[in-house]
Amino acid sequence: MKAKAITLNVNGRRHQVTLFPNVTLLEALRDLNYTDVKNGCEKGDCGACAVEMNGKVINSCLVLAWQADGAQIITNAGLGTMENPHPLQEAFADAGAVQCGYCTSGMIMAAKALLDENPNPSETEIREGISGNLCRCTGYTQIINAVQMAAKKMTQQRSQQ
């Protein structure tokens, strides 16, 4: 097993890293200090490690870092800042959709992918859209409220532009 130099573009920053082939994208991201990406089940069941890779939301535990060589990666931390949060991040805080917070980053990435494709989803569509993300605290009610709030706000923002 030989290590290889690869490039990971994360939240607009370019990283050159030398990694063994058995390192997952999840492990590589956390080693680069993107600790908003969480390690949950490592089986693709929980969605805590969800990130956007080349425009698609995926489980970073099921991608090898070499497969992400050159790809554009966006994590929850790359969506906004404390001063200028993404509407989803703001809505999750306002709706009380965060309790322990472990699922939140992945949940927001899945919700973003849903709203990118469907700006005005029904409750059923929201439930379907986050069906790969487990939350063991909130019972999902506040999370669904948050996604609805964010969808409304994003639609308003678009109509003002």
Binding site: D45, Q67, A113, S131, G132
Partner: protein, 299 residues
């Protein structure tokens, strides 16, 4: 932490087939949604993996000489939103909406789902009722075999170690053909099937009788067609009595086992009920269509 392995990164399909020819026991990795889980659980111990998910030659969905041809590395998410699949593989598209979850669907591939050889593969029953074929290539060979013969046992296929599944194809169903897929999981999303059923009515424009296809998932070592039930429906019309007999025959075709997701007896009963329900809907749909058509002719 994943075990150690060598990882080959070919840029083209010929390069990939060359590598698989030269090096023994190379396992193809596409979406990785099953294989990486197995590696982590030490259920699989490959020495070398080869990355095929990014190969352009395995990506497209197209029509070719009366067939729908889907590259093996096409993802489940791609199938779900594709217009050709909506038109010519609607029964398969139904399965993509209940396949695992949206995150997994963005990585999992149609070729991987079949080549993994699971009896519970959700794309298998729809592809079986579409009369799909699997295209296999090695450095020097190319062959196409019916999906019915491709999976041979639990996690076993006819795919040779040097071969790669390159495409899945099926004949464009005749106009008016309809199908339906139902998956029974322990919950609505992110579940491995307790069982699944696909049915399809192939309309014949030549005046021949319409043909019914029935396929069942997770009730035998491999996804199966219910041959005896299909033969009955070739001879008899889709009346409630015949449908009930066909559903019974379908259930008798299973070799269901009891496991963590359900008992064998439960599986057999639900197969009877689901086949009956789907065939009844199919018969209703076909009758309504005929009525609408004859109305159209008179106006």
């Amino acid at each position: 932490m994943l075990p150690q392995f060598k990882f080959l990164m070919p840029k083209t399909l010929p390069e990939a087939l060359e590598m698989m020819d030269e090096i023994s026991r190379v396992i193809p990795l596409a979406g990785g949604t099953s294989l990486l889980v197995d590696l982590r659980g030490r259920l699989s111990h490959p020495h070398t993996l080869i990355n095929i998910g990014g190969l352009d030659e395995l990506r497209g969905i197209r029509i070719e000489e009366g067939y729908v041809v889907v590259g093996s590395a096409v993802t489940i998410a791609d199938l779900k939103r594709n217009v050709l699949i909506a038109k010519h593989g609607q029964v398969l598209q139904q399965a993509t909406t209940v396949f695992a979850n949206p995150l997994v669907r963005n990585r999992a591939t149609i070729g991987g789902n079949l080549a993994y050889g699971s009896p519970a593969a959700d794309t298998a029953p729809p592809l079986l009722v579409l009369d799909a074929e699997v295209e296999l290539m090695s450095k020097d060979t190319r062959r196409t075999i019916p999906l019915k013969e491709f999976i041979t046992g639990v996690r076993k296929t006819v795919c040779h170690p040097r071969e790669l599944v390159t495409a899945i194809r099926w004949p464009i169903p005749p106009e008016g053909s309809v199908g339906a897929f139902r998956k029974l999981g322990l919950r609505k999303a992110d579940a491995i099937s307790v069982l699944s059923v696909a049915v399809m009515l192939h309309c014949k424009d030549t005046g021949d009788r319409d043909q019914v296809r029935i396929a069942l998932g997770a009730v035998a070592p491999i996804p199966i067609r219910a041959a005896a039930a299909e033969e009955l429906l070739d001879r008899e019309p889709l009346t409630p009595e015949v449908i009930a007999r066909a559903a019974q025959l379908a259930s008798e075709a299973t070799q269901a086992i009891g496991d963590i997701r359900g008992s064998a007896a439960y599986r057999r009963r639900v197969i009877t009920a689901l086949v009956q329900r789907l065939l009844t809907n199919l018969a209703k749909g076909a009758k309504e269509k005929k009525r609408n058509e004859s109305k159209g002719n008179h106006s």
